[in-house]
Amino acid sequence: MNFKSIEFFQYRCFMDGILTFGEKDEDDRSINLIIAENGGGKTELLFAFPWVLYDFDFSTLSTKEATPYSLNSEIYRKLLTSSNGCVDACWVEIKFFHDMNTYTLKKIETYDKVEGHPTIQSKVKKELSVKLESGVTNPPITDQKCIDKILNEMIPRKVLNGIIFDGERMQKLASSDERSVDGVKGVIFDVTNQEKIEYLLDVIKTVEDNINKDIAKAKRGTGSRKIDIFTNKIQSLECNITNNKRLFENAERELNVCKSTLDDISLQLKKYDEIKELESKRIEAEKNLKRILGEIEDSVDHFNIELNLSGFALVIDEILKDAQGIIESFDVPKGLNVQAVDSILKKGKCICGEELSHEKITTLCSLREFLPPDNVNSALLEQIDSLKNNKENSRVRLNQYRSHIKKLDLEKTKLDGEITFYRSQISLSKIGDSKELEAKRSELYSRKAELTTLINRLPDEINADTIEANSYRSDKDALIVKAEISEKLAVKWKFINKTKKATEQLRDDLQKMALQKINENLKKSYREITASSEIGRDVHLVHTIERPGIKYRVVNYYVESVLNYYHNANWEILCTKYGLDFNNLSDSQKEELAILENAVGKSTGQSKVVAIPFAKAILDYSCSKKEDEIQGEKMYPFLIDAPFGDLSGDNLRNSAKKLHSFSNQVILMISPDSYNMVKDYIEPYVRSTVKLTKAASKNESIIGVE
């Protein structure tokens, strides 16, 4: 690829304008010259490319920290003091050629003075359009990711870093201290595109970590020990279940027995109650019997008394009959009695009507004294009637007594029967003591309650144990599956581990080869540039001694000194000094140890004369065919700022002479003074020249074509 042009609008120190670039023509002219005084915008121009392509951060540039924005400083300051809502923008447009297509990449940054913000807010927008070989221009692409992808395929960010050499970087590479190590390491890292392989390694390690996590997860729950634990738990639970089932069956059986016994006891107690009732009835019957007997006795007594008193009347019926006949046959007026006399006396007249005389009255009164209340017949008759009546009454009473005694006797007989029955029933019932039965019943009730609780509880326990056992079974099954998964994971881990090793090996091998190649390129370029001025001196990129501050160091040395040293060196001491394993010391490491021990200091010019071949070595490496598909092998432009400043003599001449061969497109930024020094060697290869002039009134660079 090569750059066609770069155009600015309100961008940093540049006045609006365009710079065009060409690539090597048939006359071998590849240098695009940018001439500017110091502070004229050379470095600014150099970093405009990475700003457009990969959003270069200006604040990383020394001396540019105060202006980390793309907008022209003057406009930026005006915007800063303007009222809220003011907007301004800048843009840079790069045209470049790649694979027969012309790409136009425009980056616009809009600055907005937002209300409430102390600083200016900026927003970036990129547009990439492609003009195909056929002349057709595709619509611009604005998706950042898509643009990055296309750019990364054409000129990877790291490659871009490997082809841009500014003064600061050159200084860093040329220095004799450890800063050069960092510089060289950075460039090599960029140009060998190690980011890709490191990213691959990072991704592989992440996959490995994930597999490890899966394995750990699987292992956490696997292993025969864990399975054994589960098996034991299942067995223990099964044992519990069996015991509980047996317990349940026994409890059920016992409960039935208990219930049956309780029924028996209840029955017995019922019988007991019945017997108690019988007993009570018996007592009652005996009591009644006793009463009846008493009553009978009384009745018999009454009967006897009655019989004694009136019994004779029953047998004097004939006597009375005879007596009555006799009386009736006697002349005793029936009815002559005191009452009759009293009646006559009261009337004062006789029955015949004759008036009673005093005498008669006295006779009557005397008679009256002798007369019974009734007359004798009447009295006897009355007595007989009375006796008859008494006889009847006595008969009635005796009959009543007899009936009553009979009735009582019947009752007695009944009660005797009942008592005999009760006694027989009571004597037949062989029941225990009711208290004992009650106690037993109470005990059985407690046991029944216990058994019922147990019977209610056991199914739940059995169920819970069954669920738990099933859960363990399922866990165990899962473990068995996990164990199988672990095996699968182990296979995957084995693969990813091999992959990691392979990638690490690949990274190391590629780096080793890249460093060897860059070292070769460096030596070759160095010899070309310093052929006559630095006789006997050589340069070396340390790459086999893995020690911080040593690896990647670019050192100058005299070949002869190193050769002499090599044959007499004490490698063991050197190994100790550089922290190497003496037993595994390689020839390359020996050579590097000898070089390091014989390194010579670099003057500023000598340092610069190392930096330029190093830049060429890097560029040559970028463009060379690689051992793998990771690194590109494309031709890239070479952008270099002030390379000749500290060079002189043959070094200056040779560097200048060789510069055009560094790439098909060299964009060289140089001061007029430096250019004048190398003009004779550069001018034949100059493709285009642009002058950057600092405007007198403003702090701006004016782009002008010469």
Partner: protein, 54 residues
């Protein structure tokens, strides 16, 4: 034989493993700039899963 082939051979990669490794490598290199790592890792894991589930 390329440097990668030599390394893979030395590490006893089988044919299917070489193929898978190449696929992974290309997947990473192709998606380097426009895909987040998580998605990429996930896809590579799927590739490996697929290979070892067969």
């Amino acid at each position: 034989m390329s440097i990668v082939d030599n390394i893979l051979r030395d590490l006893d990669f089988k044919e299917n493993e070489i193929e898978l490794y190449t696929k992974i490598k290309m997947e990473v290199f192709l998606k380097l700039s426009n895909e987040d790592k998580k998605t990429l890792v996930s896809r590579i894991e799927k590739m490996i899963d697929q290979e070892y589930s067969e």
